[in-house]
Symmetry: D2
Subunit: 106 residues, 4 copies
């Protein structure tokens, strides 16, 4: 379903998040660094609890990234589709709800 919805944008589409692409890439780069930091910690036999603290920080960073992306998606893709109305609007609302449910449950 998300693929069809994507097609509706046409080629070369810009999504809500593309306005802040550099911000997102910087956040993700930092998260990638945290994943590498965890490997170094395991390799160096760092104390378990300190590794878990790092995992919690990384989970929070990932969560924040998801919430920013979702906010932009609601404000751009979903809002635009709803303003235009019709089936695409309904598809967008349904898939947004499903994505929110996955985030809340993960």
């Amino acid at each position: 379903m998300s693929h069809d919805a994507h097609q509706a944008h046409g080629e070369g589409a810009h999504h809500g998040y593309t306005h802040h692409k550099d911000d997102h890439l910087r956040r993700l780069k930092r998260i990638e660094g945290q994943a590498r930091g965890l490997q170094r910690m395991v390799n160096e036999d760092v104390y378990c609890i300190d590794i878990l603290t790092q995992v919690s920080a990384m989970t929070k960073a990932l969560e924040s990234f998801a919430l920013v992306l979702l906010d932009e998606h609601l404000n751009h893709c979903v809002a635009q589709a709803v303003a235009e109305g019709g089936d695409v609007a309904q598809t967008k609302l349904t898939e947004a709800s499903a994505a929110i449910a996955r985030l809340v449950r993960s």
Copy 2:
């Protein structure tokens, strides 16, 4: 506090998780790959919802890593300290509870 507890192990200590170091490194390598995959998706203007799905999968992978690590920590470090008794046992139990709270809340 976790630093003192660590010291109690002495130099070259082996924690619960060191028995499965390769497993852990493989998991973390895969998580690092997911972080790089997300950057590629943002770079290629992939549809927001598909990125969010990937974030949920990565969060779950991170959560599973934390739970495996915590289980080993309880079975080795905490169990050993409790068997020996005394202040270290209490410290380990307190810091394990705090780590669990951080995981539940993150």
Copy 3:
């Protein structure tokens, strides 16, 4: 902010969820029953782990209720405000994002 947004509906407003009021009340009645069940378990010295299992079930039930309510809110209140456009649309989108963030983090 949510109060202003509410006022925008005028007196006797019907929100998205009012169409399924009986469903919601039934779900919440069951959740209230779970809270009472937990008190009975504590009173009867039921084994801790069994109480925790019941808490997890109750948390999931509460989460499902929130997700259904949020889905209806997006499909009715938010979609209607967006279709009408203007400041109210922006307010609704902002407060929906804030509510989603609270759910993801709780």
Copy 4:
């Protein structure tokens, strides 16, 4: 499994949490009140977002109750079983890990 573990305590067993029974009952009574408050809100057509805020508060209260109970369980039931050693210790550690995983994932 948790039933067998319970039996190991014998009749009239006191678990870790029984020392703070009144505290727990007070917390659960408040949570039950929140569940009733939500029903009143739905009945009175309160704005969706305000209901969701209340659900987040209730989820946090439930989470805190679970964390306190788990902490007491680790400090009493699990610690005691580990100090005694043997199969019961292993059973307790395994079921504690499973309960933590359910809390982290719910």
